[in-house]
Amino acid sequence: MVPCTGRVDVIHLLEAIEEGADGVYVAGCLEGDCHYISGNLKARKRVERVKKILSDLGLEAERVEMYNLSAAQGPRFAEIAREMTEKIKNLGPSPVRATAKAA
């Protein structure tokens, strides 16, 4: 549980992938509306960094994603969840998953 996506760091996203997650997404406040001023901007930079790391490792950068929405946007939240799930389904299981499960 985090008070702000600014608290999400590169290592948290990598750990999720390492443990076998097929996809990870970070949902933060709309840019300009962060309750902690710039936490969501930092989160976006970290997500970008992890995308590059995945790319360098031969994994699909789309497995990690950043979304922005306000706490009041219930329908949008659901929409994002559907969108991400659909996308990851199309990508298929993470190649890391098999080994992660065995370990």
């Binding site: 590169v10 992938i17 490792l57 031969g58 098999a98 080994t99």
Partner: protein
């Protein structure tokens, strides 16, 4: 601080590819300050290595350790335990670190995870620049407190050259012409007459040109 940056991931993966059991060793010194090889970076690099291995269906046996420093024999003792069963060590200290490890643990393969770049400081969070070339004979007070050896692309002592334009060096608009900065500062300090004096040839023997250097402090030796 000594500034370094991490090697591209592909280069690191290629270096450690033949080795099964890896130790990633970081350092709480300079490389922590420039966000290249501290505890945080050790965690991230170790995770990257494990993900890479798991993706290929292999075990990711990557251990992590962050030492106080990797440039003191006493601190290197802390590696004894962690290194015992390892096939290779990936040190993300500045290049002094892997050399210390290689010098002490004669049967272990050591790899540098960083490219050590320069002696410098941070300009703002996340931006670092070169300030010193360790010439061994500091004379920055002759140049308004700035170093032309490290910060002039041609290390001119009687600059600027004819390529100085609008405060930038001829090699790139990203590089300030330090001679413009020296001129501005010495004018401000009222040292224009000093600026007209010709600085004679430098004795480079105190620099790396004179051979690898050593400093011996007899007063500190046990």
């Amino acid at each position: 601080m000594v500034v370094a940056e991490q090697k591209p991931l592909s280069e690191i993966l290629e270096m450690v590819q033949p080795y099964k059991k890896i130790l990633v060793a970081g350092c709480k010194g300079c490389v922590t300050v420039c966000n290249a090889g501290g505890k945080k970076e050790v965690e991230i690099l170790a995770a990257e290595l494990r993900i890479a291995r798991k993706k290929e269906g292999m075990e990711g046996d990557v251990r992590e350790i962050t030492l106080e420093r990797q440039c003191d024999p006493e601190y290197m003792e802390q590696l004894e335990e962690a290194i015992r069963d390892r096939d290779a060590v990936l040190s993300i200290a500045c290049s002094v670190g892997p050399q210390y490890i290689a010098g002490r643990f004669l049967d272990k393969m050591v790899f540098p995870g960083l490219n050590t770049t320069f002696i410098g400081g941070s300009l703002e969070h996340g931006v670092f620049a070169e300030f010193c070339q360790a010439c061994g004979a500091c004379g920055i007070h002759n140049f308004g407190g700035l170093c032309p050896i490290a910060r002039c692309s041609k290390s001119l002592l009687n600059g600027p050259c004819g390529g100085s334009s609008r405060g930038k060096c001829e090699i790139s608009k990203e590089v300030d012409c330090v001679w413009q900065l020296i001129y501005d500062r010495m004018s401000r300090l009222g040292q224009m007459d000093r600026l007209t004096r010709v600085i004679p040839c430098k004795d480079w023997t105190t620099s790396r040109d004179g051979g690898p250097r050593k400093t011996i402090r007899e007063d500190l030796r046990l």
